[in-house]
């Protein structure tokens, strides 16, 4: 069995250019690895046309480092003619008739979609256990979660089934699984990547992002995904930039803030110790690291529950069985059809969130909860901006603990949100943030460092991340 997928994408690219290997070799290897590691349950659907697509990819482009690379796409990003389930029974036979904008970009950059990655149902969850197809496993310890909601993407990259995956991050769903599985996951600035074709969970928070093995590979993939899209009014027009340009440039003179909240006792001791080691190293390298006070961070989870669920209750209303997806046929009235279709189609967590969201928007509650949450959300943004007047970056641990055992979060829906307490504030402010592995704990389980940047300062985040990934 070949081992090309263990190489860096630079090395793979050289082999492709020298014609020592073809995209077909990479795809075959990837498919074989997926088959060997079926127990990881990283994929919901394999693209059965991928071999054909690999054969028809055309001449290798020496300037396109992404050429011929297999990629996993989270199953809430629509792919034309390729089943897209959102890990839900209600869409388990849904075959989209159009490509998401990011999927068009992946195809234009000649990457090969190997399959659709497992996830929490409609991206609602922190362990991917709400998937209708069962949870993906953490390759570092198969009794543990790969995180969520982009757990399948994380599992696939972490176990080298594919070098690349796309995830989506509404409240940490890229960064938290990246941290749990020891890979690099970036949630770019809100508006950086088009959401057109991402099945909406919470529209004002959702953002697609790259999940990869290394910082350089992450930045390379991001290069291909960004850009204004006229189909998404919330996408932003920015001058083209190379996100790899600051990688390896050193961090001397960089100013870095650590909010007290991020190293408080809500964080596991072993992780805190590792963060202290990181701080020491950063200072040795000439960076200025200060511990700062930041207000409102502790409110983010509550805000998230209000805003995300309110938006979700509306976004998921379209799954009614009328135009696409599953529909029950034994209903005698329209209302009964809605009730049965949605009652049977959605899992418990999705139903819970739709109900809470509907309640939050009901009558006077909209003012009491939703409007108030939006106003505190503005305050969080202002608080981040205040820190960013004096600092280039904010860091902390990505998660409060290492990947938990599967089955331990299910009983307490509220506790599950607390896994994301450190990552959620970033979505509230629409900022870019990344999780990069900084070694493992005493049980050999990965620890992730969370790096938050100013709006559209993804390149600076990569600069710091690249300074750490080789060291820890």
């Amino acid at each position: 069995m070949s081992k090309y997928l263990d190489l860096s994408i630079k090395e793979i690219h050289e082999l492709l250019v020298k014609k020592e290997i073809t995209p077909l070799d990479l795809v075959n290897e990837s498919l074989a690895r997926i088959e060997e590691n079926k127990d990881l349950n990283a994929f919901i659907t394999i693209n059965d046309k991928v071999l054909e697509e690999a054969l028809n990819l055309g001449e290798v482009d020496p300037d396109n480092i992404l050429f011929g690379l297999p990629i996993a796409v989270k199953d809430n990003i629509v792919t034309k003619d390729l089943k897209t389930t959102c890990a839900s029974h209600i869409l388990d036979n849904f075959i989209p008739i159009y490509d998401a904008t990011v999927v068009e970009k992946i195809k234009a950059n000649k990457m090969l979609i190997i399959g659709k990655a497992n996830m929490d149902e409609f991206a609602m969850g922190s362990t991917s256990e709400t998937s209708y197809f069962g949870a993906p496993l953490n390759p570092k310890d198969k009794t543990r979660t790969a995180g969520g909601s982009s757990g399948g993407s994380a599992s696939a990259v972490s176990s080298n089934l594919v070098p690349f995956a796309l995830g989506s991050d509404t409240g940490g769903s890229i960064r938290q699984p990246a941290s749990y599985t020891g890979i690099v996951g970036m949630k770019p600035t809100y508006g950086r990547i088009s959401r057109y074709g991402l099945v909406a969970f919470a529209s004002s928070l959702d953002q697609i992002g790259p999940m990869t093995r290394t910082v350089y590979e992450n930045a390379s993939l991001l290069n291909a995904l960004v850009g204004l899209d006229e189909k998404d009014l919330t996408s932003v027009n920015k001058e083209k930039e190379d996100f790899t340009r600051l990688i390896g440039k050193g961090i001397k003179g960089m100013t870095i803030a650590i909010p007290k909240f991020y190293i408080s006792d809500i964080v596991d001791q072993e992780i805190r110790t590792r963060i202290e080691e990181v701080i020491t190293y950063l200072r040795e390298q000439g960076a200025i690291v200060d511990i700062v006070d930041m207000a409102y961070l502790d409110t983010a989870v509550n805000l998230y529950q209000i805003i995300a669920m309110a938006e979700a209750s509306s976004n998921l209303a379209r799954f009614d069985g009328i135009r696409y997806g599953e529909r029950v046929h034994d209903a005698s009235t329209v209302d009964e059809m809605y009730e049965k279709t949605r009652g049977e189609g959605f899992g418990d967590e999705v139903k819970r969130r739709i109900m809470v969201g509907s309640y939050i928007l009901s009558g006077e509650n909209a003012k009491t909860y939703y409007d108030k949450a939006l106003s505190i959300r503005d305050d969080i943004t202002k608080e981040f901006n205040r820190i960013f007047k004096d600092y280039d970056l904010i860091i902390g641990p990505t998660t409060t603990r290492v990947a938990p055992h599967l089955g331990t979060s299910k009983d307490d829906p509220h506790k599950a949100f607390m896994d994301d307490v450190l990552v959620i504030p970033v979505n509230m402010a629409g900022l870019p943030a990344l999780s990069v592995p900084v070694g493992v704990n005493s049980n050999n389980l990965p620890i992730g460092l969370h790096i938050i940047g100013k709006s559209f300062a993804e390149a600076t985040i990569y600069q710091l991340a690249s300074a750490l990934e080789e060291v820890f």
């Binding site: 629509v78 008739i97 159009y98 959401r195 074709g197 009014l233 919330t234 135009r323 009901s362 909209a366």
Partner: protein
Amino acid sequence: MENYIPTIGIEVHVEVKSKSKLFSNSANTYGMPTNTAVNVVDLGYPGTLPTINKEIIKQGIRAAHVLHCDITRKMHFDRKNYFYPDNPKNYQITQNRTPIGTNGYVEIETNEGKKKIYIEEIHIEEDTCKSAHRGRVSLLDFNRAGVPLIEIVTKPCISNSDEAVSYLTKLKELLFYANISDCKMEEGSMRCDANVSISKDDKLGTKTEIKNIGSIHNVGQAISKEIQRQEEMLTKGEIIKEETRRFDDKLGETVLMRVKETGNDYRYFIEPDIPYLELDEDFIKEALSTLSLLPDELREKYTSLNLTPLQIEKLIANRPLNSFFLELLNYKTNYQTAANLLLEDISSYLNKTNKTLQDTTLDCEKLIIVIKELESGAISNKNLKEILPLLMETSLDLETIKKKCQIENITDDTVIMDIIDQVLTENAESVLDYKNGHDRALKYLMGQVMKLAKGKVNPKKASDLLVEALNK
């Protein structure tokens, strides 16, 4: 016994004229085959996002202007959440908190003089799809889904059915004239709901809503009947419930559709997929620059040009003719004659050929020459009918057209006088009859003149000269 005082408020929906739909680029048309003007956005496909058609925002600005509303400078869209099969996303994108226009009015004539019907607000929203029920099956046509609507809501300030009819007639004229909507009630491009309550004092009574009334005439009928029904109920000591009714024009009565449940809960919240819109002065100016004169402004202008009230109303009722006439006002000519020509010969030609003025080659310069020659007698009204087809269908000039139609009218008075002299000499008996008061003799003499001139003199001119010669 004291009389009940009715209070009426009216909600009108008009379909806005535009090339494409409000939130997608599919065509905004009427009468296309079922489900052909549809794309994934209109279908509410998972992952799709709304875009915004700026032309419709401009239409909203125009509507706000002609209805004397304050134009909202910073606005957003809202989601109105409710489940119904004709509502593809199960939420409608509308404007709840920031309608594009507020505090307007329409002025109508009443028996007591002019009255302002106050407009509470006007807002932009998307239409639903059209449903058709065939036995146990319901069918949906998505061509209408996403078609732009403007909803116009009056304050409860209408006192009777006559005022309601005047208001709607005026509203229709204004929106039609500003080219905002076709306002065809029979095609559903203008729809009307009336809220009716009655009371003996200042406290408003319980209102009922009569939905979707099919014509302006029926609105008047429905309101009268509903007032009567409510009076009868209250007189009998019955209680009026808040309910939705419809007008059955065969029965000539309003009929109960459903009793309103305690407060509809639409769970409104700000549409997160569409950023706030800020309308700057330039954009507003640009929108208003294409507005032509409105009916009341036209009435004033045309009266000052000495057009008859009938001509004025006829011109205003025919927008293409009217805009041609307005263009003509840039030139010096006889406007009464011009109005006559447009409303008589030219209109009947257009009707006969089933054309609009814009389909023909007629332009202002051509028409002005025709008017000049009509006045000088170079062409007669009879000639006009002969030359009209060439005038309207070719780019030939009038001289060439006349030649083609073999019209060589004698315009020289002395030549005509010679002919008259010859006729008088040859018909001394008839001359005598005329002088003895036999009017028929004049007709005979005139016939002889025309015969001798081979029809090539202007009859009116010839007749004038003949009478003059006889009376000498």
